[in-house]
């Protein structure tokens, strides 16, 4: 309803899709349509041809990689991530984050590929993928390349994708021993837009008492997920206790100039980044210690 006139094609293969995308500048991939269709209805962007990739079997599977990681097809839905025994077995928190994206209708349609390629700063998956060290597998008519997630998100609704290029899958490396992931957001009101998020991955030393390595990703502080290297440096070697984490997170975002928008001022975001960072790291420590690879808390 109220879309501008637009053409729609449903190619039979990724190859065909790439052909169409390469030959028509006004063509755009349609995955779950949960953002693209809204954008078209609001008429903030316009497209000549919608290339529906959502039903391509090649893009819809989740496979275990040789090293124990995951290869997730770009058109795997949030619901499929949430319910996948494979994902839950090795990357529990990724399933948990997917399980908390908006409502069931959106989870039935929205895809990991769409969530990343839109690069909407409020989207849930980019920060956790950066924290897990995921790699984006891109393909065009002329070739393939791999881009680490941390380099894939370029800006407000901007990614490393070149015209005519598709994201075909996301490779998530295995989570090492004694490691875990955490994820925390702050949103004012149920199902409201998060004003700040943090995703963390920590590896504990053999005794489980200290943090050996960490990755701390902040979202909604800038327009793309960013790692706080200074905070990571303070975390590495710190005791794996709430007090030590609190101390290490006290300076989170201090060197940054957080964005301001209707959901929160720059200064409030800075303060809340500290809180969500701590919550995410504490979750990650619990997960690292737990029998599961993710804690039961968080994901939201």
């Amino acid at each position: 309803m109220l879309l501008e006139q637009v053409e729609y094609v449903r190619p039979e293969s990724v190859g065909d899709a790439l052909e169409i995308l390469a030959s028509d500048e006004g063509a755009a991939p349609l995955a779950g349509g949960q953002s693209l269709v809204n954008v078209l209805k609001n008429r903030v962007a316009s497209v000549d041809v919608l290339v529906d990739i959502s039903r391509l079997a090649e893009l819809s599977s989740i496979a275990r990689t040789a090293d124990g990681g995951l290869s997730i097809g770009a058109c795997v839905t949030y619901d499929a991530l949430d319910r996948s025994p494979e994902v839950r077995a090795s990357h529990w928190m990724l399933g948990e984050v997917a399980a908390h994206i908006e409502d069931q209708q959106i989870r039935n349609k929205g895809t990991i590929g769409g969530n990343c390629c839109l690069s909407d700063p409020t989207n849930n998956l980019p920060p956790i993928l950066v924290a897990l060290g995921a790699v984006m597998e891109l393909r065009s008519r002329t070739g393939e390349r791999s881009v680490p997630a941390v380099d894939f998100f370029k800006g407000y609704f901007a990614t490393a994708l070149e015209p005519g290029e598709l994201l075909v899958s996301v490779t998530v490396p295995p989570i090492p021993e004694h490691s875990g992931a955490g994820y925390a957001s702050l949103a004012v009101g149920a199902d409201a837009k998060a004003l700040v998020r943090a995703a963390a991955r920590v590896t504990l030393d053999g005794s489980g008492a200290t943090i050996a390595d960490s990755c701390l990703v902040l979202a909604r502080v800038a327009h793309v997920p960013v790692r706080d290297a200074e905070a990571e440096a303070r975390l590495n070697g710190a005791d794996a206790t709430e007090e030590a984490v609190r101390a290490a997170c006290a300076g989170v975002a201090d060197g940054m100039q957080p964005i301001a928008d209707v959901h929160g001022s720059s200064e409030y975001r800075r303060q809340m980044a500290k809180v969500t960072a701590r919550r995410a790291v504490v979750q990650a420590i619990a997960a690292a210690r737990g029998s599961r690879n993710g804690s039961t808390a968080g994901g939201k």
Binding site: M1, L3, E4, V188, G189, A190, K193, H263, S265, V275
Partner: protein, 833 residues
Amino acid sequence: MTITSAPVTGEATKTWSGRAMPRKEDWRLVQGQGSFVDDGGMYGQGYAWFVRSPYGHARIVSIDCEPALSMDGVYTVLTGEEAKAMCEAPFFAIAPPPGSLMQEWPLAVGKVRYQGDAVAVVLADSRETARDAAERIVVEYEPLPAVTEGVAAADPTAPLLYDEAGTNVVWHGVFDYGDVDWALENADHVVKLDRLHFHRFSSTPLECNGAVVDFDHGTGMVSVLSNYQMPMFAAMVIGPTIGVPMNKFNFVTKDIGGAFGLKIGFYPQIAALALLSKKAGRPAKWTEFRTEHMLTAGHGNERTFIDIEVPVMADGTILGVKARAFDDAGAYLHYEPLGAVIWSQVVPGCYKLKHVRVDYTEVVSNKCPVTPNRGYSRMQHLWMIERIVDVVAHELGLDPVEVRKRNYVQPEDYPYETPNGCIYDSGDLPRSLDIALELAHVDEWRARQRELGTGSGRRIGIGIGSTLDSGTNNFGQSRIINPELPFSGNGEVAIAKLDLFGEINVNLGTTPQGQGHETTASQVAADILGVTPDDVTVSTGFNQANNAYVGFSGTYASQFAVTGLCAVMGAAQKLRHQIVKLAAFALHADEDEIELAGGVARVRGDEERAIPFIGLANMVYTNNAGLPAELLNECDLNARYAYVPPFEVPDTVAKTGNLTLTYASQVHVCVVEIDEETGEVKILDYAAVDDCGKRINPLVVEGQVHGATGLGIAASLYESLDYDESGQLEEPSFYEYHVATSLDIPNIVCGDIESPSPFTPNGAKGMGEGGGAPLHAVCSAIQDAIGAGGPIVTDSHNHWARVYEMLQRAPGAPRGVEVISRSAGSDTGATSL
């Protein structure tokens, strides 16, 4: 203490009135079988799309419609200048000068005054085409500086919205009762507050505005199928503008998906659609979109109070209040400046304040026009009163419960005359408060609060909101704004009819939007006519052709239980009288021997002598030869009754008089937990005690309490409509404006007492608006959590970031409050905190 829901006074309920019955209309609404404005249409209709300004304030340099007109499927385009040329006058102004100089036409002429102001409207063969065409219309604007804050707008140096008026001030008046200067000089303490701000928000109806309008060139009839909630007000405002007399309108409403007062504001769109239809020669259908609604359909009144001074005695008796109020009406005056007097229905709030002076200024600004919004204008004032009562308790170290109880109008004081001559009809505020405190487990939470102490990172706060829902307006109060206005009193009409086969039908002048009128009207009629509510068909919505209306007809301002149901009562009694008369004739009995039961009129004590309603209908409609003319004249089985509440015209110079008939009261208690590191406010317990006199259907009442409470909590924590300096709305969609859902609203425990109104024939009081109690209670709870010495809660909206900022504010930073103590024995003397 045990809590019961039993009425404290009042007679035993009759058969149907007073029963908590499920609503008759719900079955069709929950099965998707309701019929809303967008479900309707007219033969040959086109679809309308408004071209709206992206600027907050700009001069219209030119409009080029050609690119739209040349598209296939576009019927026509109407611009502001063209519309004006088709009009006989600007819309009728409620305000005297200078407000009356701020003229409005169906579409913007010469300049746009807020983001979303309509400059043209397209009619096409589909919504899609209309929208595409609207995008092709080229409007050249010259942006102008904007003013988006009420106090600033009143400044003579501010950018002017209406050059013709020479000011942004719409109306100014001083409401001065008692002797506040004396009180301030003689009080033991004077509590001073710099500023309190009541924010802008909307009640966000599920259904946006909509209308299908046909201008019939043959008959001159203008048919308006819409979800407009006060149809004859729209007719009275737009008729003289577009040159249509009242008897050439046919306003119709169907099911309405929420209105809250906001659906009084869109008469300019109806006028524009009428002109568009006139120009195109076919009906015009318009269904508002959500972002369009948020930008243009109307927001609630935003009010800033400054220089607030409160004289208080040592024992906590509050003598009164002095303040300056600035109300920001937005860009056009829709129903305004009525808000400038409507608040004075509740001058002292729930309290016996004797000395009140409010210096009131209403301004225009480059923001969406305000419309009435649930709690309209009284809520803003009551929030200010409730804040000052709370702050007084806080600053003087008194118990907020005791301060309220000491100052409340007491049960024995009713009927209580306020300093401006309003008569509070009945109530028991101290008991309402006790019940609310009990239902919210306040004793337990106080203990938990003490246990928690400091250092846990969490704080508990307990807040009280005492408020009034004044209902059944005396429209004579409009003359306090403008003595020339031809308005006073109020009224509503119902028609009760026995149809051809003896069916009972009731037509109302109201426009229900979820208030259950079909149910309660049939309960009332059933009792009088000796049938069950299922036997009574109440037509849905308003239809001018039914002739069941007066000028004030509609559903707004907490009055249906009084105006609507008393009209039903009167009409049903009239019909009953006719039925009895006919039955007495048919059964050869005396009228006082006739009783009605189960759809039959019979002679008391003689079951054999009976006639069913179908037999009586037959006598009148289809088998009337030989009946006495006198009987037929009197008994047409079509009984129309206009209920008119008893009112006098107020004193427009002293600004006194009885402005509303009834005063329902609400006392809410809210317990919050605040997370110190984020400012998150979580509601732990919530109780709402309502006293609206006799309840015709307690279930409907509870539904209204839940709705009003949900909206109030949403406004206090989540929903705010803010503009940047250039006049851009920062929350034009649900992406930015977090509309609270059931997930955000805590469990609400309801309690009730019934203090019947002595002034209404049925003892009932209007209660749908709810007086904004949650805003008062949530602010009070946050204040309690902040604790002694902390900043004052000065805004009605407390987003987590604001709460966080208050908790962070350095000790010693300005708190926005000052207490000057003068009592002789006081050991503090004059303190400045």
